[in-house]
């Protein structure tokens, strides 16, 4: 990708404006896709899914694709915003119901989503996270509109309790006619294929990545005469905070030079505080509360050992980040964790207090005897494992494959729904799909596609934005930097 000349930076948006308004607008060259990422979870909310979407989009833009993101409004942040390199984010004013997930009626979001898909000339809809109602809505509408759909699953579910039975049913419905599904680990793929009764051939595994330049080791931050164990996770049941509460007193009693640093917030924080109170460990167990992502590295480098107590995990980003900072990782053997790091960098234990204590003792013994490799060495190994560029390359292959496939026609789709999702659910959702199609026809009659202004591309081959890393000064362009309000 060559940089454009910088002759008249202020004029460029104008030329692009002119191009989209006329008929002979150049079409995008083949091989580049217009991708729309949809998820309820995006910045300013923090988490794994959010950073996954952001990093993947950035790398796809770098590879010359057009990417936009659709999410719901966060507080006052609504309308259209631009992030680095012309990544356009739509914050739609939809009501948030529970846990930052929007309420779904399956229909109310169609007018806005359809308007955006048409104006941005989207060809692939990439939905993220099975917890996100908006992602499922977008898949449903995308299929109605005849667009290619891709779904990335970021989490594991059970099969036994009522809530997972229901979510699994919904997932079956949502994924049975989706073109391609991406999972973050083989365990997650197995889980998703079983839950949603999918054909495994349309499920790919693309792991998450970390930015190795963000997570560099710094052994000087460590205390020489102490052993520090770092735990960074949300303090919730799924992350095994209860196990942590059992481990802390046992190990603190055994090793007088042991310290704990615990980052994260959640409903289980109270029991950690109780444990600290009961065993008088205020000077040895530090609770940091919620951490911003940029602070995570500074906390990690203070420790020698990283402990992960998750009870279920599709792909654990935290242990890769910790290993990248040069820490010895001790983790539970659940979900996709065994796939993430090679044996030499991780000590795997059963999810019980006893087993985890043994694992930690082993790590402490190794540390004291100096058997552990140096942090720099660990960093050097880990940084080659998971990079976003690699993730983007593999995702691109999925897109290339998907774009060649035929979208199911209406009758095929109804057939598929009724044959794959059980007779009752299948019929209900087939009926809803028919309603959705009728609603779309009504919307097309009210506002025909020809009345929708084609948006000016901010990324992709026809971008009016300076290409990545070309000139930081063009980011000050008034076109792009204004936040729009509704």
């Amino acid at each position: 990708m060559a940089c454009r000349t910088e002759a008249e930076p202020s004029r460029r948006p104008l030329d692009a404006l002119a191009c989209t308004s006329t008929e002979e607008c150049p079409t995008a060259p083949t091989g580049s896709h217009s991708v729309c990422m949809v998820s309820d979870f995006f910045y300013p909310n923090m988490g794994g899914v959010e950073s996954h979407i952001y990093q993947l989009s950035q790398c796809l833009i770098e590879r010359g694709h057009k990417v936009i993101i659709i999410t719901h409004a966060y507080g006052n942040r609504k309308g259209v915003r631009y992030l680095t390199n012309g990544l356009k984010v739509y914050y739609l004013p939809l009501k948030v119901m529970y846990n930052q997930s929007t309420a779904t009626t399956l229909f109310h979001s169609l007018p806005l989503l359809r308007y955006i898909f048409v104006r941005e000339r989207i060809s692939i809809i990439h939905a993220h996270s099975s917890f996100s109602a908006m992602a499922h809505d977008a898949l449903f509408h995308g299929k109605t509109m005849g667009l290619q759909t891709v779904f990335t699953d970021h989490s594991l579910f059970g099969f036994a309790d009522v809530s997972s039975v229901l979510t699994n049913k919904l997932l079956t419905v949502s994924l049975c006619d989706t073109n391609h599904i991406i999972c973050v680990s083989y365990t997650s793929k197995e889980n998703t294929v079983l839950r949603a009764a999918l054909n495994p051939e349309i499920v790919s595994v693309i792991p998450n990545a970390v930015d190795p330049t963000d997570f560099t080791p710094d052994p000087r931050q460590r205390k020489k005469d102490m052993v520090t164990i770092v735990v960074i996770s949300r303090l919730v049941y799924r992350k095994g905070t209860d196990l942590l509460c059992g481990i802390i007193p046992e190990l603190c009693l055994k090793y007088p030079d042991l310290n704990f640093i615990i980052g994260g917030e959640g409903p289980k924080r109270i029991i950690l505080e109780e444990v600290r109170e009961r065993y008088q460990l205020h000077d040895r167990v530090r609770l940091l509360g919620a951490l911003e992502h940029k602070d995570v590295r500074n906390v990690l480098v203070q420790g020698h050992i990283f402990l992960n107590t998750s009870l279920t995990e599709a792909f654990c980003m935290a242990i890769v980040e910790a290993a990248s900072c040069g820490l010895q990782v001790v983790s539970t053997r659940v979900g996709g964790i065994p796939e993430v790091l090679p044996e030499s960098l991780i000590i795997l234990c059963e999810p019980s207090v006893k087993s985890l204590c043994q694992g930690l003792e082993k790590a402490i013994a190794q540390l004291k005897s100096g058997e552990l490799p140096t942090p720099e060495k660990i960093h050097g190994v880990v940084k080659t494992f998971y990079t976003w560029r690699n993730v983007a390359e593999r995702t691109e292959k999925v897109y290339d494959r998907v774009i060649g496939e035929a979208v199911l026609s209406i009758d095929q789709r109804l057939d598929r729904l009724m044959s794959h999702c059980g007779s009752v659910t299948g019929c209900i959702f087939a009926l809803l799909a028919v309603f959705n199609i009728l609603f779309l026809i009504f919307l097309r009659w009210i506002t025909p596609d020809s009345l929708i202004d084609v948006a000016v591309d901010a990324s992709g081959p026809l971008s009016s934005w300076p290409l990545p890393q070309c000139s930081p000064r063009d980011k000050m362009n008034p076109h792009s930097n204004e936040d729009s309000e509704t």
Partner: protein
């Protein structure tokens, strides 16, 4: 110099854009919507009266009928005076400022004037409006306390809501004037 071009608004309605170039430093853009059509007026009146007549046959009270007449008359007056905007004008003079005028169907006019000293820039922006994502033209005002900040965003042609091609037309002309102003103010 004056010319007129026809554009459409975001709902597909017809809009006429008149451009008057008085001098290189002074231009006027006038967007006019179609006037209130007899057909829609008749349709609304008829439906109100039919509803009133239905109620009248139900309750047999003639107050309903007279109320319907008053409602239509007052409604029409209010609509023409406060709601229906026939024309929106943007007058830009580079040494003075920008004047925004909207004239209602009744003849009432409301005018806003923005001094050139306060204007930071004129841009096209995107917003979510009802169930649509639209482009609109707006004027950015300088923050008096902070030279690089923006204190306020004033949308232009709020009622007509023209489509992007029309906005680009106006945007270009305005930018030419702003550029002209910058050129003349920097070279004394």
């Amino acid at each position: 110099m004056e010319d007129e071009r026809v554009f459409s608004d975001i709902c597909g309605g017809r809009l006429a854009l008149q451009r008057r170039h008085y001098s290189p430093s002074c231009r006027e853009f006038c967007l006019s919507c179609p006037r209130l059509s007899l057909r829609s007026l008749t349709a609304v009146t008829c439906s109100v009266w039919l509803a009133a007549y239905a109620l009248f046959t139900l309750f047999e009270n003639s107050v309903i009928l007279s109320a319907a007449i008053f409602i239509t008359l007052l409604g029409l007056l209010g609509y023409l005076h406060f709601v229906k905007i026939d024309q929106e004008t943007l007058l830009i003079i580079d040494s003075l400022g920008i004047q925004l005028t909207s004239s209602y169907a009744s003849g009432k006019e409301s005018t806003t004037f923005i001094e050139m000293g306060k204007v930071k820039d004129i841009i096209i922006n995107e917003a979510i409006y009802m169930q649509k994502v639209i482009y609109y033209l707006c004027i950015l005002l300088k923050d008096p306390l902070e030279p690089h900040g923006i204190s306020q965003v004033v949308p232009v042609f709020q009622n007509a809501k023209p489509r992007l091609d029309c906005l680009i037309e106006v945007y270009r002309s305005c930018q030419e004037i702003l550029a002209h102003r910058k050129a003349t103010s920097t070279s004394p």
